[in-house]
């Protein structure tokens, strides 16, 4: 168990770095937004993994749940609350980014970063 104790965090880092790589290496703006989404979801998994308690259950109080004295029976609800907020805010920012992309496409006729830059240099 000890060897795999950090497995979740490592996968989270792999996902995070994949998203980061998409954002900084790809010129297509829509691809960048998808990369940001990957990054964001990896962050969610990081928080939720930290909230998990071995042998615990979802934090919904059940009357008469057999819970030994002093043991933790419910997973931590706080990361869940934070991430609920983060998901909704994330979609709001994604929507704003996509609206910007639509406007950029209308103004420049392309969503590729290098083409936009060369048009800027010309003018």
């Amino acid at each position: 168990m000890e060897v795999f104790g950090l497995y979740n965090y490592w996968i989270v880092i792999v996902l995070m770095m994949t998203g980061f790589y998409v954002v900084i290496s790809r010129g297509n703006l829509i691809k960048k937004i998808v990369g940001l989404n990957i990054f964001q979801t990896s962050m969610f998994i990081l928080y939720i993994s930290m909230g998990k308690v071995r042998g615990g259950t979802a934090p919904i109080i059940v009357e008469g749940l057999a819970c030994p004295e002093g043991a933790v029976c419910y997973s931590n609800p706080l990361p869940h609350v934070l991430i609920l907020t983060a998901i909704v805010v994330g979609v709001a920012t994604t929507a704003l980014g996509l609206a910007l992309i639509v406007r950029i496409k209308e103004a420049y006729g392309t969503v590729e970063e290098d083409e936009i830059q060369s048009q800027e240099v010309e003018t």
Binding site: M16, T18, I61
Partner: protein
């Protein structure tokens, strides 16, 4: 297991150039992560992720593709090495950082020792909501949720301003 699937999905998104396929894969990615949240006991988060991340975000991206383009150009070759180095260095640093993290599922981890036990013990008697996540979200941290609404409102106004103006100009 699910986690490994997620990693595969992310790498596929990195490789693919057809943006429609990329958007579809990111929808599947959201759905997989929702499944993962269920196994991690975060049922509320799983609902939200499946509905909002898998549904609305995918829909918004498809709409954007319809308004723009669905094929990605090949990136310039010279751009490749520097980002890879940056990513590998950052990843190595972060992995080094995880070595101090408490083991997965450890009930003695510091995160479980602070305010969470109080919420779990008192939430039912103080708010009479059995779901602790809802109790914290809507009752204890109600102001945070109000701030969240302000963010969504601002984003909505921004989208309306950006796209509404564009439509008017096209009519001219």
């Amino acid at each position: 297991m699910l986690l490994s699937f997620l990693a595969v999905m992310a790498l596929a998104i990195l490789r693919l150039r057809n943006l429609l396929a990329v958007v579809m894969l990111s929808g599947i990615y959201s759905l997989l992560s929702a499944g993962l949240f269920v196994t991690l006991d975060a049922v509320d988060v799983a609902f939200t992720e499946a509905a909002v991340g898998g549904g609305i975000a995918t829909l918004l991206m498809l709409a954007t593709l319809a308004l723009t383009t669905d094929e990605e150009k090949r990136p310039a070759e010279r751009l490749r090495i520097a980002p890879l180095l940056v990513v590998l260095a950052t990843g190595a640093l972060l992995i080094y950082g995880t070595l101090d993290m408490p083991s997965y599922g450890d009930p003695q981890a510091p995160i479980h020792r602070h305010v969470a036990p109080r919420y779990i013990a008192e939430a039912q008697s103080e708010t009479s909501v059995p779901n602790v996540v809802t109790a914290v979200l809507a009752s204890y941290r109600g102001y945070d949720t109000m701030g969240e609404l302000a963010v969504i409102f601002t984003a909505g106004i921004g989208v309306m301003l950006l796209l509404g103006r564009a439509r008017k100009r096209r009519d001219d």
